[in-house]
Symmetry: C2
DNA sequence: CTGACCTCCGCTCATTTGAGCAATTGACGC
DNA sequence: GCGTCAATTGCTCAAATGAGCGGAGGTCAG
């Protein structure tokens, strides 16, 4: 019964490997099955069956990367109404993922070869990262724009997203191994002096692209879509004060009111994140936000004049345009 | 010049969307081009051209997931010689990535539905994580087996790898937000009392699978393949002492000698990682290691009796078997 | 307005391909 | 040794497909 050394790969792997080889010759090199059969010395029927097997057994998988439909008309309307460089609006029946894919394609276009991209946090940005077409471009630099927060949902933290994006693009990744909020301005200053952290924040000045979500505070008591609120950085009293100041949403750690005024500059004194002033210097600031609950916040964020490009969906865009006469 | 609202998606997206729809009907639903043409009310030639376009423009992408060839004979020989549950050996001309894919497939098989997998650090483990077939199984738990180290190369740190793996499997991810090594046993104890860290280490006892690399110290002066050495945890004097004790490699943070004895138990007193005793209780400990420089270390690690499954390549396996008469 | 140029479309015909069937092979139990 | 069953192989013929061609429509400079 001593089996010793049976060369039993005569059939298994020989076969398994064949399916892969055949599939590559057929799909990649576009040979006909007859040519493949001749080349490998097997019958064309075997080639066909190998190919069937390869597909049914998952050896070859077919993926679709078609861009979701866009509503260019609405996009242009948003551009003009809010003085944006680009308004990208997903078509009528788009879901969150369609918006994320449009944003990912947009970012992919912006990053020609190389380039430096800053990345924020949030579930919206997370979807964009996951929809990003894979690359292998070490010339790209990913820069985390705000510190981390462990209380955010899985895979929405800025550090995690920067890591994912770097992995996906094959890019260098510059993270901030520190919390987004600390107790005092002194601690913040001390952290910013840390060489590892300073190496990342020093890159805020040379970003080509920044990718952000827009946080909406929403009515008190409801679950906020804002990662700033979810991050647990703000005590109840802070939040009450912000609401009193008219805050309706946030960009990263910076709350703003309906007119796009940043209402709580002192919050920036306790947070480790890119400042609004630095953000204004980024050539292309791309915000992704959709959902009727975010309409007010998006309008406020655009009024702040920080954002160049907005990616959203049709219902949101229509709601943003509809209130032309009213409000502000 | 006021463009207002031009429905100019009559051509672009209508076309782009068509390519995707046609591709799905053709590849997924296996309709013939003639059937597709009839269904969409276009000519079969247009279908063919749309399909060509979809492939050349990258709307459809074809991926291959064929398992690399294995040498079952060598695998069985390794199993018997080293008393393993499984020896998985990649075929003759396999590269590092082929070994990683074999390991990934093996782990994927082990994780039927659900299950708890512990993950170590290192570039080898990193390749396995990246080769892992994607899933979406929230029933799986990823457990980081050792603390983080910022001095490891990009994407080889245990925290990063746990995050990547969790993302890839759609699984829950339990990380250790602490360094792998600290200055004193007291600090270690304090950290282990932290609820967040304790929540992860508590899972060491209920792992189904552990995925490890094997570190090889190699001759002094050469670049070590061991992530333990690279992690910068050991001062020069520590290293000299370990070498003196006969250490030739490591499992996670635990150095061992050629006979598989763990030579420096006190190192565990300063490190945040699964212990050898805990590791022994894991039903399936899978080690991935290949390269002639690692042969001695692998043999030592197997002698320790912690490892159940070894994944390697043919040259390494042959070298491991060749020294049967000599040495130990 | 006109002609050059370009892109996209549908057609014909030769080639490639798939469905279904019959022959072969190999494993296994008796 | 031999029958049985399942899996695999190769075949025929009808259907599906690709290459290349000429025409329709659209754009742009002159």
């Amino acid at each position: 019964m001593t089996v010793g050394r049976i060369p039993d790969e005569i059939d298994g792997p020989a076969d398994a490997g064949l399916a892969g080889r055949v599939a590559r010759l057929f799909f990649d090199r576009q040979l006909t099955k007859i040519e493949i059969a001749a080349r490998l010395g097997i019958s064309r029927f075997r080639v066909a069956r190998l190919l069937d097997h390869a597909r049914s057994s998952g050896v070859v998988r077919i993926e679709y990367r078609d861009a979701p439909p866009q509503d260019h008309g609405l996009g242009r309307a948003v551009e003009q109404r809010f003085a944006l460089a680009h308004g990208v609006v997903a078509g009528a029946d788009a879901d969150d993922m369609a918006v994320a894919r449009l944003a990912a394609d947009y970012v992919d276009d912006q990053l020609g070869r190389g380039g430096s991209i800053g990345i924020a946090w949030g579930s919206t940005v997370g979807r964009v990262v996951r929809a990003m077409p894979a690359r292998d471009d070490p010339g790209i630099d990913i820069v985390q724009l705000a510190g981390s927060s462990t209380s955010l949902d899985r895979g929405t933290d800025a550090g995690d997203l920067a890591l994912f994006l770097g992995e996906r693009l094959g890019a260098g990744c510059h993270r901030i191994h520190a919390p987004a909020f600390v107790e005092s301005a002194e601690l913040r200053a001390a952290l910013l002096r840390q060489p590892e952290i300073a190496a990342t924040t020093a890159r805020f000045g040379s970003l080509d692209v920044a990718l952000l979500g827009i946080g909406a505070f929403g009515p008190p008591g409801t679950a906020p879509s804002s990662s700033l609120l979810r991050s647990g950085a703000l005590a109840g009293t802070d939040l009450a004060r912000l609401t009193q100041l008219g805050a309706i949403g946030d960009l990263l750690v910076h709350p703003f009111d309906a007119d796009g005024r940043f209402v709580s500059p002192e919050l920036g004194q306790r947070s480790i994140a890119i400042s609004i002033a630095e953000l204004r210097r980024v050539p292309s600031v791309i915000a992704v936000a959709n959902g009727l609950a975010k309409v007010e916040a998006i309008r406020g964020a655009l009024a702040a004049g920080v954002i160049n490009v907005l990616v959203t969906d049709a219902p949101t865009a229509e709601a943003m345009l509809a209130t032309r006469g009213s409000g502000r």
